[in-house]
Subunit: 337 residues, 2 copies
Amino acid sequence: VSRFLAACRGGAVDRPPVWIMRQAGRYLPEYRVARARAGSFLALCRTPPLAAEVTLQPVRRFGFDAAIVFSDILLPLAPLGVEFAFPDEGGPRLDRPLAQPEDWDRLRPPEHGGGTAFVAETIARAVRQLPPETALIGFCGAPWTLASYLVEGGTSRDHVAARAALAAHPREFHRLLDVLADAMAVYLLQQVAAGAHAVQVFDSWALALSADTYAEFVVPALERLLRALDGTGVPRIVYASGAHLLPLLAGLPCEAVSVDWRVPLDWAGRALPGKTVQGNLDPAVLLASPDTVRVATRAMLAAAPTRGYIANLGHGILPGTPLEAVSTFVETIRGAA
Amino acid sequence: VSRFLAACRGGAVDRPPVWIMRQAGRYLPEYRVARARAGSFLALCRTPPLAAEVTLQPVRRFGFDAAIVFSDILLPLAPLGVEFAFPDEGGPRLDRPLAQPEDWDRLRPPEHGGGTAFVAETIARAVRQLPPETALIGFCGAPWTLASYLVEGGTSRDHVAARAALAAHPREFHRLLDVLADAMAVYLLQQVAAGAHAVQVFDSWALALSADTYAEFVVPALERLLRALDGTGVPRIVYASGAHLLPLLAGLPCEAVSVDWRVPLDWAGRALPGKTVQGNLDPAVLLASPDTVRVATRAMLAAAPTRGYIANLGHGILPGTPLEAVSTFVETIRGAA
């Protein structure tokens, strides 16, 4: 069993496994070559040989213990009838946001697996090329995070429109979250069937919500999504920010929780008994000197649980991160054997 | 003693005092008249008769237990040599962000009280016109929040440049925070001398930082700022988001902590023994129906501490909030007598 999968299940490992959220795109020169070859970000995601290639790039360069399939959380919304644009500048955008309950009703439940076969094929290709000890992680967006993208029509600073829609239309919002949970459940199962060894659910915008709202709206949808993987034996990781949500995340049917840089790892470990903790270096630290990276990484490791721990950043790696900083991060963790 | 000041000090009150962050500007039609008369936001802030008038507007309309002086946290940076622009569209902006330590060295410690006399005059005028039972709150930005504005050159979604600057230049960043703390200490003392009955320090971007970074960098600067008011007898309120920071806020020399909508009030109350808690309705709820506002406000009150509690929103009121929603919020709190 790989070091990564052992740590997901709380087993003993010789040293903490390490990988970095998220894809190669943000920092690798070899990625930019593949991206240029594909012509656009979307074309790259949808061309399995190229997507598999960039999935493997970070592992080849840094020897990570896991790779995450190259894709985007918004792509599986296309089969539901929602096509985001991915302009070269700025975040993904939707021409007509789904602002109102009547817009949500227009979401078409997709054929099972329909419209996302390219992700399955990318996974199958990547798994064949990965070293056997390296895990391949499939992923999807969490229902609330996807709902926010739909209602806001893109990335939002404070998710006011989504929060207001939830407050104004609680029943319809529940239904929206259920539709998204069901679609993502099928999508994750498709990825596992194609060979993914673990899955991660990104609730990137969890931090926007109160604990009460999260408990009432999001937790049931997350449970619905996660339970679809019951019995597959594949570890489930949930990424979410916010110390106020830890007591709720502790109750989710998942093996691991990925926390951001805000909460100290020892706090997270105590708040998540029986679960593996993943994280949590502030990606901004990787913009500083190697010495600073080394000191901060050691401090992270010192606060980490001794069992059930996966080293990672607390959020996606930032554009412009120097490769040397990533090496220093990885080497410091390897030195912690 | 006013209901508001009694609650600041944890005393018994007949019902929770209530006011709303932040100024009239976001939702009152009478504000828009005054704003048009002044010509610009900055001119309005810097014309004491008009600024005092809009300070009083929310109290006149809703009978709040406190008014907050109409101003902006970035204005007291002008005497340090930093002039933000306030365009009609979008947030405040700085043409040349103070991105590097050498930029921070250029900050001029202001003459004591120099360049902000218009705020003192606004306070003195507003206090004279307020009903005697209504408190006047002075305010300033917290050192970290101001530092983020300086480094980012405006509002930022994730404060990456500021976080990176802090990681890369820890010693210089400490000094920057100290300079800002000292300038804001003088500024708050000036406001108290002019008649402010309480002060609030807005650490609006606290949530961007880890608990460790907050403890090492921000807490000492906040203490330096807050201690300058020791002996004045004026209650100090600190606004900051993030459940992970509550244990640190609990140790600050302040009488009250204003929390956002994320943390349930009973959690906040437990985490802040001996301190008054202020907050925390999600402002997005005020965009929903009166019934929704009523239910959510009652839930907030049910979770609030019985002593040492000030009703408020968990963040600034949103543009476009209907007046009816504010009335419903206030009436529900009054009904909780």
